[in-house]
Symmetry: C2
Subunit: 344 residues, 2 copies
């Protein structure tokens, strides 16, 4: 089927026909999924484990722009951002529900593309789609995902357990998604002003991929489990490292010190930042949507983590009175302020 040509109106299926169409190939990955789509509610049984619940809303024009976001990537990302929250609790995601409202400009083929991405994420992370709701909207696309997971009682990690002297760790690298967004917004603006100019995205696969197709750090949770490390506090980085560090400091009633030269920034991100005359450090601190994990560990766990290429130690937890500070490469000290990119 040539998706570029065929256009099936969703109204030809009706709501129940649509749900059946979108969910007919579901295969479950988890024994905990007792009953899935097709009844008033789903049933899950975490068999003595605790259930983790998180939810996220993605709104067209606020969280994503369909001008440069392929629907398949959007479907994938809608699931990932929620799984990331489950991993950030030191838990394993097992089920998701997905509700979606769309205007009549979306065809069945468009929805199929979106769901292709949803199922790709579910398969990759071994989670089951167990329910949801579909609706029309007057304008725009809106996506609401709830993820459920499981954790051994007492093993979950909150934001409020960081202790003075703990080491602050970050997975992967930071700032890439923000730079990808900056690039795509720039090319969009150029295109709208001069449609004859083709977008120039050459060589920028890395930062674009960081924005459009993020992954959740399942591997970090597995690594921590293998090493026998239980972080004292943990969050995923969706709003930006600065913002998340301030949450941990506030909820743990501590301060922190971060070293600029320890911040993990990919070479591709650094180069593109320089090209735009942006400060890579500012991008790493304030750029959101990288979906990396920031966590604190006791000092005695340092030896277990130092050799991992996936994790960077970027600073340490201080007393609350010391505030949240960054020490620059030049040796200056600045206060860390929240500058997440989600603004009302």
């Amino acid at each position: 089927m040539d998706k570029g040509i065929t256009r099936t109106e969703i109204s030809t299926l009706g709501e129940f026909g649509l749900i059946e169409h979108l969910t007919k190939n579901i295969e479950f990955h988890n024994a905990s999924t007792i009953l899935g789509v097709g009844d008033d509610a789903a049933i899950i049984d975490h068999f003595g484990k605790q259930t983790v619940v998180t939810t996220d809303l993605l709104v067209e024009g606020i969280h994503f722009d369909l001008m440069y976001t392929p629907l398949k990537h959007l479907g994938y990302k809608s699931i990932i951002v929620n799984l990331s929250d489950v991993y950030a609790m030191n838990a394993t995601p097992t089920q998701v529900t997905l509700s979606i409202a769309f205007s009549n400009r979306f065809s069945l083929e468009a929805l199929d593309e979106f769901y292709e991405g949803v199922y790709a994420a579910c398969n990759r992370y071994g989670v089951d789609l167990i329910g949801g709701d579909t609706s029309s909207s007057q304008k725009g696309l809106m996506i609401s995902v709830t993820a459920l997971g499981e954790v051994t009682p007492g093993e979950f990690v909150t934001r409020n357990g960081a202790k003075k002297g703990d080491l602050i760790c970050v997975s992967g690298d930071l700032g890439g998604a923000f730079l990808g967004l900056t690039l795509l917004e720039r090319e969009k603006k150029i295109y709208l002003e001069s449609p004859q100019i083709q977008p120039d995205l050459e060589g920028q696969d890395y930062i674009i991929g960081r924005l459009l197709k993020p992954e959740a750090r399942k591997d970090i949770i597995e690594f921590l489990g293998e090493q026998g490390i239980k972080p004292t506090a943990m969050m995923d980085i969706s709003d930006g490292l600065s913002s998340e560090l301030l949450h941990i400091c506030k909820q743990s009633e501590v301060g922190c010190v971060v070293y600029e030269d320890k911040l993990p920034i990919a070479e591709d991100s650094r180069q593109f930042a320089f090209k735009l005359e942006l400060d890579p450090t500012a991008c790493a601190l304030s750029g959101g949507e990288d979906y990396e994990l920031v966590f604190t560990i006791a000092q005695e766990d340092y030896d277990k983590i130092v050799l991992s290429e996936k994790v960077s130690v970027i600073g340490y937890v201080a007393e609350a009175a010391e505030g949240a500070r960054i020490i620059t490469k030049g040796g200056n000290t600045h206060e860390i302020t929240a500058q997440g990119w989600k603004a009302f």
Copy 2:
């Protein structure tokens, strides 16, 4: 505070300030709520019971009209429609998450009214608000609620267990919400055409209440439990009795026979239907949003249910080959067709 005069822009709080404002007075009702709002995810522990999950999306202009829906009632109803789905599984709701997207025409005072209704429903039904997401939207209000509940393993009731000879039961009465909607839509139309004419809603409290402030039938689930009755199939009536009966018939691979004169219709509903020259039976069959329960029970449970004023026996389960039929007061037989009111 005079809500009619004060208008606080939500942008003055920021996202985290808003969440704190909306959730600061939460008190938990359930021991199963281990961790609520304020981290990457919530933690619940149903202690050996199975977890029930359901989700619903309410979109302005599709599912509700703010011209005649008070925000407090809308908040209440947003929770109720999900709890109703949990009860329809023969389960007890325990937690909800709530995500909401709103345009800048909504003030903080407007959101407060909405949340007043949310908390009123949570308190009445003893469920805990444990998470959610807030976002701006380009246009309109969108509400996504996920409800979680618990059920003793194996005690949940699906749509696929109805057996030939079972009795079909319905709680409460039907058609009222549809008639309330018809009334309000009529008055809205008159008002838009002639704004000097005051809406005439006198004496129609019952049907308006059925639409704007529905309740979930917790009492029916408790009654069934006390009587030791486990329905063979059950659904809540959100799309209309006809539509729900056809779901049960399809999923249980059975047919059904329903008697027109057994359909429970409130006197207020009947009178208003006559006033509009509508057939009360059609309203009861096809009108949605009453949030009553339709369920099937084994014949031997008849004695336990016959004296309840809350439950009507409206027919019986037949063989699949007989189809789904209604026998009119005049003795004629008609096929039951789905005519839910949610159309794409």
